[in-house]
């Protein structure tokens, strides 16, 4: 006596490969994947494309990268971290390196960054400059950020004090 299962036509190979043996389970897996990717993309890893020359030679133009939005969930931003700084939102952001931490005094003298009067060692800077800027004291929740490309004019280079709440996360790669 043939069983009920034997009576049903077997699904084709293509259908099995695409949908699997159980369409409901496959649908559930697809939904879980979509939710997981959406959550990851929104709250953890934000994809970005680097534009502009202010972070040369560390980050070349049109390079795809990610912002780790959870990088500072358990500790504050560190000196030397390359971070994403938001404007009004996260669609367009600035990519800069943190050089000054809260309550420090930051100045540019002879093209070198001085933190509390001491020259900061910056191995990532490959081009020297003659930037001069008077000392600025940072507030409790303020960080001084600047790009790695110092061959630009000081006025043409977007840099300065960023509030902590503007730092979205650390650049991953």
């Amino acid at each position: 006596m043939p069983t009920e299962v034997q009576d049903q036509p077997k699904p084709g190979l293509v259908r099995r490969a695409l949908i699997g043996r159980s369409p409901r389970l496959t649908l559930l897996r697809v939904v879980i994947w979509i939710v997981a990717i959406f959550a990851l993309r929104t709250y953890a890893l934000l994809p970005i494309r680097v534009e502009g020359v202010s972070m040369l030679p560390t980050y070349k133009e049109n390079r795809i990268n990610f912002v780790n939005c959870l990088a500072y969930a358990f500790h504050p931003p560190q000196r030397g971290d390359v971070v994403a700084i938001r404007y009004a939102g996260r669609s367009i952001m600035l990519c800069k390196r943190i050089v000054g931490l809260p309550d420090e005094v930051v100045a540019f003298h002879n093209g070198h960054i001085e933190i509390n009067g001491k020259v900061l060692d910056e191995p990532y800077v490959k081009t020297r400059c003659n930037w001069e800027h008077p000392p600025k004291r940072l507030g409790t929740n303020e960080y001084y950020v600047v790009g790695d490309n110092r061959s630009m004019e000081f006025e043409a280079h977007t840099q300065g004090i960023a509030d902590r709440d503007r730092i979205v996360g650390r650049i991953l790669l």
Binding site: I85, A88, A156
Partner: protein
């Protein structure tokens, strides 16, 4: 069981349709402000080979989005600060920009609208990008745009740049 799912799906589709129609026919203040911002971006943009009459019309349309006592203070690094008071000055500035630039593409992203408690004024924060001829990358600035409700129309009464980095 299957019929139940179909009914539920139809009910959800109907509810979302009604919701969409309601918002389309009776838009709330936030939606109206967003529409005004879209109009502002459109009127501020300059298309290539714009006819003189079209330039005048667009500058006029731009000025009509502003309140009579509007204050505009835009600081762009590396460029002279732009300060205008009143609708007339805004229109003159728009005409002046059109005479200087051959093309300009203005877009607003990340628009956040905050309505005042009395719902007669609002503050918007947004990122504005301006693609200018001869510039490889667009100019990006964060703006704070204030709106006031005048005779059921949301008009701009304040524009100022927000310094992302100080």
């Amino acid at each position: 069981m299957k019929d139940g799912f179909v009914r539920l799906a139809l009910l959800l589709a109907l509810a979302s349709g009604v919701f969409w129609c309601w918002h389309y026919l009776f838009p709330g203040p936030e939606l109206l402000i967003r529409k005004q911002l879209a109009q502002l971006a459109l009127a501020a943009s300059i298309s290539p080979n714009e006819a003189p009459l079209a330039r005048l019309a667009k500058a006029q349309r731009l000025a009509e989005l502003f309140a009579r006592d509007a204050q505009v203070n835009v600081e762009v690094p590396g460029r002279a600060d732009q300060t205008f008071s009143g609708r007339e000055e805004v229109q003159q500035a728009a005409l002046g920009a059109r005479a200087l630039l051959s093309t300009l593409q203005v877009t607003f992203v990340d628009v956040n609208v905050t309505l005042a408690a009395n719902k007669h004024s609002a503050i918007t924060h947004l990122t504005a990008t301006a693609d200018m001829p001869g510039e490889r990358l667009p100019e990006v600035e964060e703006l704070e745009i204030g709106f006031t409700n005048v005779d059921n129309a949301w008009l701009i009464n304040k524009v100022q740049t927000v310094k992302t980095l100080r």
